[in-house]
Amino acid sequence: MTARAAALWRALARGWWLVAVILTVLYPLGAFLFHGRIFQHVDKEAVGNSLGIAAAATAAALPVGFLLAWLSECRRWRGRGLTELACWLVFLLPSYLLTLGWQTLIERPQWMHTAVADAFFGIGGIVSLLALKGVPFACFAGRATLRAMGAEWDEVAAVFDVGRVRAAAIAARALLPAAAASAVVVFAESIQEFGIPATLGARIHLHVMPYDIYTRLATTPADFSGAAGLSVQLAAIAVAAATVHIALHLRFGATLIGARHRARHPVCPRRGVAAAGWLSAAATLVLGFVIPIASLMHQAFGSEPQVPVPWSSVASSLVYALLGAGLTLAIVMAMLRGGGASRSIPWVTIAMEGFSLAGMAVPGVVLGAAYVFAFNRGPVVLYGTPLLLVIAYSSAVMPMLVRLLRAPLEQIHVALDEAAVVHVADPGRRLLDIALPLRAGPLLWAGFMAFATMVFELPISELLAPPGRTPLAVSIVNLMQGMNDTAAARLGLAGVAVVGLLGAGLVGLASRRLTGVLQPGVGA
């Protein structure tokens, strides 16, 4: 091998992730969004409603999620297990099943004429459900960042005996980047949500941006250009939120540098704070999982389904999601490794922030349409194949994983890998015995998160599902459309149960082989 060929090989080995990101995310989305009427009329009402609802959901989810994250990471608190259970179960339940569960309950005649029903089928219900879905995101994002913080600020405050107010101000300043990270994730997730506002907001005819995008795509003739333009506006809002976050990160980010050098020795929280934590975790679990699941179970087993339940779609989605999660982890790991090497360059940080948040704000239906446009022509036609659906799932989840894995993976000191290179000649041993075990915790946790998201993914599945292997979400929605709610509820519950069992199995495996492996940020 010549020197030039060797250099090319090394460059490819280091930069393949960039090619993958360009081909699977930037190229299809860029081509589709560029095609859009970016400077079209801005629907002020839709923009205002979307901003207002996302901000309200963020404001409601953030205190709960961040409190749970702080108690779990920075305090010795016995509610940590309940928090993990609540967050994972609420995260697992897709928004359309959460909505169906609550809707089935509230639409009962005894509830329908109450103030609860009036509030539920309006802004209150929309914000509440979005906030419930936001709590796990706020908690996961907060924990990933808090985990990377040391105890220096607490210790400095204690040493200098600065008083309660000043100590609280110092703590707030130290926590600001983590809180901002949680906030922007919840905001980006909320602003692109279509199902909850479209279902609950129909009665008050609430206009939100994803609703307008969907309408333009589903009306004949479809207005792809208009939908693309609206998506750019939506992504621009997320980028603006990312900018605020980056500004806070750059201004207060010093709190994170070097913080790993001193381990935290958490103390017990005050009784009132602990009680608030217990209440928050219990409320999240009950409102975000127990009640909707109970309602769905009543629906599922209250009568016999009128049609056969398409169980095979559960298996199809599990396989799609397994492949998608593996691909996403490989790309994100390589990406963060490459980005980590350049972490001293500010634009790399900014580019990754922008990529992850703008990506999270792009609705799935837009990503799906972009994929049809990009891969139904040209030299490589992948449309209609399972591979394209797997790649699209990966592109959809990649921004979230970049955001959630960045802090824990970048905290692994580069010296550990360097030591491996010095002491272990065999690259296979280096990868399997050193590099992967070091990262096993966050990778397992993030991989399962990606897997669970993909199993229940809806809009991309509707546009890209290959013939013959119908994904789970598409089957559920088809059953709901045919008013077969019993079959839909049974299928949805089966999906939740299978994914939950797999998650429980993972926890069991991890607790034997790795300590605390399913905690965000652990393993760093």
Partner: protein, 337 residues
């Protein structure tokens, strides 16, 4: 290094096996995009009878139309099946669909619904809108679209921008007021009088059941299916009743071999055997009126009343062109309330 090679081989094997499992086995057969409840079952029966494999993608109407439009002139489907001649006319106007002429033994209703240009093939018809009301109500149920304006009860319907089959209801309301745009004041009056809007038929009917509204304006198949399960409600067919056919369309420039297979499929689903199979499906879409002679609903499935004698047919190509404008106008109407 050996472990790495072993791990990589194992991983490659798992990935290859997964893709082998997922790979669609169309075997040169048809790809059917279906928004009809009975689409997949009809396709399976067709394959059993003819040996022609059919891979079905079951979708909601909105997603199906978005997918067909996004694929544009490089379609990956051979035949699509959904409710609404207006949408089919919109696809034809955009040059996305071809012409399909099949020799079918049409009945009188069928002959009126078959378009002369062959842009779509009707496979059965429902009604665009029926009035579902409580069996016992303080307000006598309205009999005509026009009577809705002076009716005292609360009315609800689905959002045409989200629920595909709701667009013909909006068209029927506008037509009752004099057409487009003359019918705007009529619809505006209904909205002003407190008409409620819901996401989909299921939500509208749930509101009716809960007593939040006194009349649900829904597609007849959804209305009859609801009344069949909930005995406290009945269906009133308005005068005039407006036809909402289910249609088959094919992509433009379909290869002759595929076209022949689609024609076989069309003849099968319109045959007595194919239609009995569709009618036996225990789902709302099965509650349609046949468009062919010598086909009646099987005795062991719940019947439908005879189709209205004075069934009205909209010019699908005219109303299809207006769909986008009308949906947007309707949305704006709610915004300014």
């Amino acid at each position: 290094m050996r472990r790495l090679v072993l791990a990589a081989t194992l991983l490659a094997g798992v990935v290859a096996g997964a893709f082998w499992y997922l790979e669609p086995d169309d075997g040169g057969g048809l790809v059917l995009y279906s928004a009809e409840d009975y689409g997949a079952a009809a396709a399976r029966a067709f394959t059993e009878r003819t040996g022609v494999p059919v891979s079905t993608v079951s979708l909601s109407t909105g997603a199906l139309l978005a997918r067909v439009a996004a694929e544009g002139r490089r379609p990956r489907w051979d035949v699509a099946w959904f409710d609404g001649a207006e949408s089919a006319a919109g696809l034809a106007a955009a040059g996305l669909t071809g012409r399909l002429h099949a020799v079918i033994d049409w009945n009188r209703l069928g002959r009126r619904l078959v378009p002369a240009d062959g842009d779509w093939l009707p496979t059965g018809t429902t009604l665009a809108g029926v009035f579902v009301v409580p069996a016992v109500s303080p307000y006598p149920a309205p009999r005509t679209w026009g009577a809705l304006a002076s009716w005292q009860g609360r009315i609800g319907m689905s959002n045409p921008a989200i629920s595909g089959p709701a667009f013909p209801i909006l068209a029927a309301l506008l037509e009752a007021g004099g057409g487009w745009p003359a019918g705007k004041p009529f619809v505006r009056g209904l909205v002003g009088a407190g008409m409620r809007i819901y996401a989909k038929n299921a939500n509208t009917l749930a509101a009716l059941r809960a007593g939040e509204i006194d009349l649900a304006l829904v597609q007849s198949s959804a209305g009859f299916a609801f009344a069949r399960v909930h005995s406290g409600f009945r269906v009133v067919v308005p005068d005039p009743a407006v036809a909402l056919p289910s249609v088959l369309v094919i992509p433009a420039r379909l290869a002759p071999g595929k076209r022949a297979q689609v024609l076989r499929f069309a003849r099968f689903v319109m045959s007595p055997l194919g239609q009995h199979l569709r009618m036996r499906m225990n789902e709302p879409d099965a509650l349609y009126w046949p468009l062919t002679r010598n086909v009646a609903r099987p005795r062991d499935v719940q019947g439908l009343p005879p189709p209205p004698a004075d069934l009205k047919f909209f010019d699908a190509s005219v109303w299809g062109r207006r769909q986008g404008d009308m949906d947007r106008w309707f949305s704006k109407l709610w915004e300014v309330r």
